[in-house]
C-alpha cells in the first residue's frame, strides 16, 4: 500500500485553544484506519481537517503528495465523502438523499439511477427508496447515510462515529455489514470511534488520540499489548 495522505506538523485550534496536534501520520491507500480516543480528544477535528472543513494554524496535509491547502477546495472535497454521527438526511425522499452528492457533481440521470440502485442494495436500503427521510428509524437512516457516501465512489471515506446514535443490535449489524463491505472494497477509509473493540473489528490500523495529541499508531493487537504510555493504558482499561 502506498502513501496516500501525509500529515506533517499539524496544529489545529478551535475556539482559541489547541484542539489537535500531530507531528506525523501517514495514511496508506486502501487501508481502513480507525481513530480512537475519549470524548473531546480531537478525533472529529482530525476528520474535519482531512475534509478541509477546518484549516490548520500550522502544518500541512498532503493528498497524493500535494498540500490540500494549495488544491482547489471544491475539487478536493469532491474526491471524498463524509458520514457524520447523525445521518443528517435532507427533507426529501431516500432516493433523492442518496443521489444528492451525485447531483452536486452534475452526474447524468441514468448513471445516478444505476449507482443509487447498486448502493441502496449493498446497504440494505433498496426497500426504503420511495420513503421520506423523516419516516426512517435511526438504523435505516444511517444505512441511507452510508449509501449516500458510497454512491460517490470517493477516494477517501471519512466516518465520524457513524453508529453511535443507533441501538446496540442495529449497531452490531451495521458494523458487520460495513466491515464486510470495506474488506472487499479496499477504499481508503478513516473511521472515528471511541470503542476499541469496534476499531479492532473494522480497522487495519488504529490511531489513538488523547487530549488532542496523537499517542500511538499500530495494529489493534499491538496497541492492546504494548500501549505507548500511561494515558493510552488508562484509556484501554475501559475495554
Amino acid at each position: 500500500m502506498s502513501d496516500f495522505i501525509i500529515i506533517r506538523d499539524l496544529l489545529i485550534q478551535r475556539n482559541g485553544r489547541d484542539a489537535l496536534s500531530i507531528n506525523s501520520l501517514i495514511i496508506r491507500r486502501g487501508e481502513t484506519l480507525a481513530i480512537v480516543g475519549p470524548n473531546g480528544a480531537g478525533k472529529s477535528t482530525l476528520l474535519l481537517a482531512l475534509a478541509n472543513l477546518i484549516k490548520p494554524v500550522r502544518g500541512e496535509i498532503l493528498f497524493h503528495g500535494k498540500s490540500i491547502s494549495q488544491m482547489n477546495d471544491l475539487e478536493y472535497r469532491r474526491k471524498l465523502s463524509f458520514v457524520f454521527q447523525d445521518p443528517l438526511l435532507m427533507d426529501m425522499s431516500v432516493q433523492d438523499n442518496i443521489a444528492l452528492g451525485l447531483k452536486f457533481r452534475g452526474t447524468q440521470k441514468d448513471e445516478i439511477r444505476k449507482r443509487v440502485d447498486r448502493w441502496s442494495k449493498a446497504m440494505g436500503a433498496e426497500s426504503l427508496l420511495g420513503r421520506r427521510a423523516g419516516q426512517l428509524s435511526g438504523g435505516e437512516a444511517q444505512r441511507v447515510s452510508l449509501a449516500r457516501a458510497f454512491v460517490l465512489d470517493p477516494e477517501l471515506l471519512l466516518m465520524d462515529e457513524p453508529f453511535s446514535a443507533v441501538d446496540p443490535p442495529t449497531r452490531a449489524q451495521l458494523l458487520k455489514d460495513l466491515s464486510s463491505l470495506l474488506s472487499h472494497d479496499h477504499r481508503t477509509t478513516i473511521i472515528v470511534t471511541h470503542n476499541l473493540k469496534e476499531a479492532a473489528q473494522i480497522g487495519n490500523r488504529v490511531v489513538v488520540i488523547i487530549n488532542g495529541e496523537l499517542k500511538q499508531v499500530g495494529a489493534p493487537k499491538e496497541i492492546k499489548e504494548k500501549p505507548a504510555d500511561k494515558s493510552v493504558k488508562e484509556f484501554l482499561k475501559e475495554f
Partner: protein, 217 residues
C-alpha cells in the same frame, strides 16, 4: 361616495405596491439574512440586533425619513418621487426588508449547524449548499415572506406620509380607510376594511397552501 372603478383602482395599487415592496425585500432580505445566519465575523451579533430592531420599525418613522429624503429640498428631491407609488414602494421595502432578513436568519440558524459541513462533505459548492439550506428551511422562509407582506399591506403611516393619499394616484386601501373614517363615512371605511382583510386572507391562504404542500411532500 366611492365608485366601483375607484375601489378597483385603489385595490390594484395596494396589491401592486405591497407585492413589489415584498419582492424587493425578499431580494435583499434572503441573501443578507443568509449571510448573517451563516457568517462568522466580528460585529455579527451587533448587525443581528440592528436587523431585529428593524423588524419593529414604526412605519411613521420610516415615512418621516423617506419623506425628508425625497422632499423637494431633500437629498433625493431631484428625483421627484415624493407622492408617487414609487415612494410608497421605497418606504414599504424599508419596513418589510428587516422582517424578511431577520426571519430568514432565524430560520437558517434553527437548522442543525452540522448540515453545512455534511453538504460540503458530500461535495456541494457554496451556492449548492445555500440552496439546499433554503430548501430545508422553506417552511419558515415562506412564513418570513408572509410576515413581510403582512407588515406592508396593513401599514398606513408611511404610505400616507410619502404617498400623500392622492386620489387616483397614490391612494391605497389603508390610506383610503383613514380618509373615509375622517369624513365620518364609516360604511365606506368598513367596506374597504373588509376588502383589505379578504385580500390579505386570500394571499396568505395561497402561501399557506404552498407552505403546507411543501410540508407534506
Amino acid at each position: 361616495m366611492l365608485f366601483d372603478s375607484e375601489i378597483f383602482q385603489i385595490t390594484i395599487l395596494s396589491l401592486q405596491v405591497s407585492t413589489i415592496a415584498t419582492l424587493i425585500s425578499l431580494l435583499i432580505g434572503l441573501p443578507f439574512g443568509t449571510w448573517l445566519a451563516l457568517g462568522n465575523f466580528r460585529g455579527r451579533s451587533f448587525l443581528l440586533s440592528i436587523v431585529n430592531t428593524g423588524m419593529a420599525l414604526p412605519p411613521v418613522v420610516v415615512g418621516l425619513v423617506v419623506a425628508m429624503t425625497l422632499w423637494r429640498s431633500g437629498p433625493l428631491g431631484g428625483l421627484r418621487l415624493i407622492y408617487t407609488p414609487i415612494a410608497i414602494i421605497i418606504a414599504q421595502t424599508i419596513i418589510s426588508a428587516p422582517v424578511v432578513m431577520g426571519l430568514t436568519a432565524a430560520a437558517l440558524e434553527a437548522l442543525d449547524p452540522r448540515l453545512q459541513q455534511q453538504l460540503l462533505g458530500l461535495g456541494a459548492s457554496r451556492s449548492q449548499m445555500i440552496w439546499m439550506l433554503w430548501r430545508e428551511a422553506r417552511l419558515p422562509l415562506l412564513a418570513a415572506l408572509m410576515a413581510g407582506f403582512g407588515s406592508v399591506i396593513s401599514e398606513v403611516g408611511a404610505s400616507m406620509m410619502v404617498g400623500g393619499n392622492i386620489r387616483g394616484q397614490t391612494r391605497v386601501l389603508t390610506t383610503a380607510i383613514v380618509l373615509e373614517t375622517s369624513k365620518g363615512e364609516f360604511g365606506n371605511a368598513l367596506a374597504l376594511s373588509a376588502l383589505l382583510l379578504i385580500l390579505t386572507y386570500l394571499i396568505n391562504l395561497a402561501l399557506t397552501v404552498i407552505q403546507q404542500r411543501g410540508h407534506k411532500k
